[in-house]
Amino acid sequence: MLDTVSLSRMQFALTAIFHMLWPVLTTGMAIYLVVVEGLWLKTRNPDYYYHARFWSKLYVLNFGIGVASGLPMEFQFGTNWAPFSEAVGDFFGSILGFEGAMAFMLEAGFLGIMLFGWGRVHPVIHYLATIMVAFGANLSTFWILVANSWLQTPAGGEMVNGKFIVSDYFQAILNPFMVRSVAHMFLATLETSLFVIGGISAWYILKNRNVAFFTRSLQIVLAAAIAVTPLQIFVGHLSAEQVYEYQPTKLAAMEAKWETSPAGQPADWSLLAIPDEKGERNKWELNVPQGLGYILEFKPKLSAPVLGLKEWPRENRPKMVGLIYYSFRIMSGIGFFFAALMGLSAVQWLRGKLVAGAIEQQKLLLLSWIFAAPLGYIAVESGWIVRCVGRQPWAMYNQIRTADAASVIPAETVLGSLLAFAGVYSLLFVMTLYFGSRIIQAGPNLEMALPQLDNAPSVKEEPAELLPDQRPAEANQ
């Protein structure tokens, strides 16, 4: 029988891993919707309007499930991690409160207008609502990353009698990890949704459905990817440097590094390995000579030692080294794959191959885009595994042990809720895939009447006619 702490951890991991799937798409996609709706208002080209309408169908499906699956995240801090909540509530709790009041409410308050407001409010007010939804979603990324970064690199106060007393709230917000982590996650949501939109567009083009229409969305996401993919690799690298500086145990686990590499010497970088935790060594490894020095400092020899896991007693270092090691490699690998795919596509675009009429011939390229569609999710999940499993055995790095953070409740009770979550979330996952694929199969509706742009009233005078079985948005088809 597993103990309460492990079960609570499993429950948090399970709900977080599932929950992540939905907002990671919607926060990025919201920005895409802002872009296409803005292009429509500016150019009056109906294609952009239909893009806004088509992609927002996928958006709302994912948004709703994101809301549903996100509820337990906040409540679990109280139910399963009561001592932790008590110890860090002053700052951590406040930040979650800000997230709710500033970000969630903004998103939820304008979502109704964004989804159902077409034809009810003036297009400019509608556009404003879309912007608010996107802004709310990304603000929520910001606060969540502030809170999580603070657990990684606590700042702005100190532990006094088991409670974190904050002396400087702004220092706590601006904790060492914050800026780079927010940037890394912001780019991750954007990158994931770019490649989902790109992958789906590529699928339509391959199927020869609405080729011109989806070539346009592919071009939009490709244009964004030209900036985002290399930038993400750079920001990822900056984040890893911070791990080296602030969380040496995590870095050692990411690299499956058991022995310390002293300063002034070259150090190998491990490309692949089979870590053996019991034996405190790698059973097999494939190394790049002098690689670590080049990655960390861009020179062959280290100027400071890189510590190996053996430097810490077992109880002070993360377990599941293999998981952390491979998650890191999967994440980085996907980042480089995205950049390569972007590079290839950009070249073909420059050669004039990515226009309706020629793009259908690019079968391999389009297939690669379809293949890339789910990779962003895998990269994000892997990254968070590195971030949070690698932080162990600490709930708050070097301050609060995870084992001391869990509520004292019977293991059977936690097991019960854990099993219920496993069942319900698997259902959510399958149903989202099923209904999402139905939306994609149905394709865009290019017959819809366009909303009146000139002389439209700011809010319609007559009462709303909400039709059952139809979002009012669809009523004016």
Binding site: G64, I65, A68, S69, L71, E74, F75, F77, G78, T79, N80, A82, P83, F84, S85, E86, A87, V88, G89, D90, F91, G93, S94, L96, G97, F98, G100, A101, M102, M105, A108, G109, F110, L111, G112, I113, F116, G117, I165, V166, Y169, S407, V408, I409, S417, V424, L428, M431, F435, R438, V459, E462, P463, A464, E465, L466, L467, P468, D469, R471
Partner: protein, 336 residues
């Protein structure tokens, strides 16, 4: 400084009360409509019920998230203790809210609506059940040690008094849901909810009277405070006012007025809520831990007032704006 130590937790008690009231009122009618949908006779009616909430349920539910976040920041001890003590009802509520939310999303794309209608109704009912038990046990008190840590069992929340509170809360949700539907529908459907509102008004009143009698009998700490002036006057005024409001509500229902029943119901909710607030105050974990013991440090409370406080009017503004945009009836259209 001492005054501040006293004053800040009180401010947060009021702010939390406001958030909780907004949640119970707004998501209350969502959940009430959901529970009513279980008794609805046909598919078309159920569709209208769900459509009437389509654009608002998400924002309404978010008040719960805001409230929980604020509780976490302002009273961290209470957040941990209450939520872990109420582990089972809290997850009951969460699963209920999940079922309700997915019903809205999946139903629209599904060919077989029945399953998702059921998910909407059962989810709403389950959420109301969890909330009722949670509310009931908080009023009754949670067993804690001197430090405020939970010492009771996982099933402490279940007894006849919390069942009474739960039943009453469900009646209240049905009442506010019915009056909301009177506002949003017309014809036969509206007529149905004039009837359900009338029944629910009576059952809610009965429940509320029972709770009013039971609470001072079993809740010794509250008895002394409630039965000494000046609270005595307030505590005796609330039931009288309540009965008066229910009378006004029944009269407006009898006259087939469309808007006033919803207004009277909100006032009944507000009054009940004030009564409960008086019973609980100054405790945040009844019957042991006061808001002063459980509060975060004064600096944290100020920090939160700066960031959350100024947002309250803004949040209220755009939520009201949304109701203005979507005012009016849900129309029935025949699809053949």
């Amino acid at each position: 400084m001492n005054a501040l130590l006293h004053f800040l937790p009180q401010v947060w008690f009021v702010i939390l009360g406001l958030f909780l009231f907004l949640y119970i009122m707004l998501d209350g009618f969502d959940l009430g409509v959901g529970i009513l949908s279980l008794t609805s006779s046909d598919e078309k009616r159920r569709s209208i019920l769900m459509t009437s909430l389509g654009n608002v349920w998400d924002a309404n539910e978010t008040w719960l998230v805001v409230m929980a976040g604020a509780l976490f920041g302002a009273f961290p001890l209470a957040y941990g203790t209450i939520l872990s003590a109420l582990y089972i009802p809290i997850f009951m509520m969460i699963f209920g809210l999940i079922f309700r939310a997915i019903a809205f999303e999946f139903r629209e794309h599904s060919d077989r609506k029945t399953l998702w209608n059921l998910s909407f109704g059962v989810g709403s009912f389950l959420a109301a059940l969890g909330q009722g038990f949670a509310l009931g046990s908080v009023i009754e008190g949670i067993s804690v040690d001197a430090l405020g840590h939970f010492t009771g069992g996982m099933w402490d929340w279940l007894d006849w008094r919390s069942i009474l509170v739960t039943l009453t809360l469900i009646q209240g949700y049905v009442l506010i849901g019915s009056t909301y539907l009177i506002l949003k529908t017309e014809g036969e459907l509206q007529e149905t909810h004039f009837r359900t509102a009338k029944i629910a008004a009576v059952t809610t009143l009965v429940g509320a009277i029972l709770i009013t009698i039971v609470t001072p009998v079993f809740y010794v700490a509250a008895r002394e405070r409630l039965f000494s002036p000046p609270l005595l006057y307030v505590f005796s005024a609330i039931p009288l006012l309540g009965v008066g409001l229910v009378g006004l509500l029944l009269r407006s229902l009898g006259r087939r007025e469309e808007r006033t029943p919803f207004v009277w119901t909100i006032l009944i909710f507000l009054l009940t809520f004030l009564g409960l607030g008086l019973i609980v105050f100054p405790y945040i974990i009844p019957t042991e831990i006061t808001i002063y013991q459980a509060a975060a440090s004064p600096s944290a409370l100020v920090f939160m007032i700066i960031f959350v406080g100024f947002l309250i009017p803004i949040m209220l503004f755009y939520n009201i704006y949304q109701y203005v945009v979507f005012r009016g009836k849900v129309k029935v259209v025949e699809h053949d």
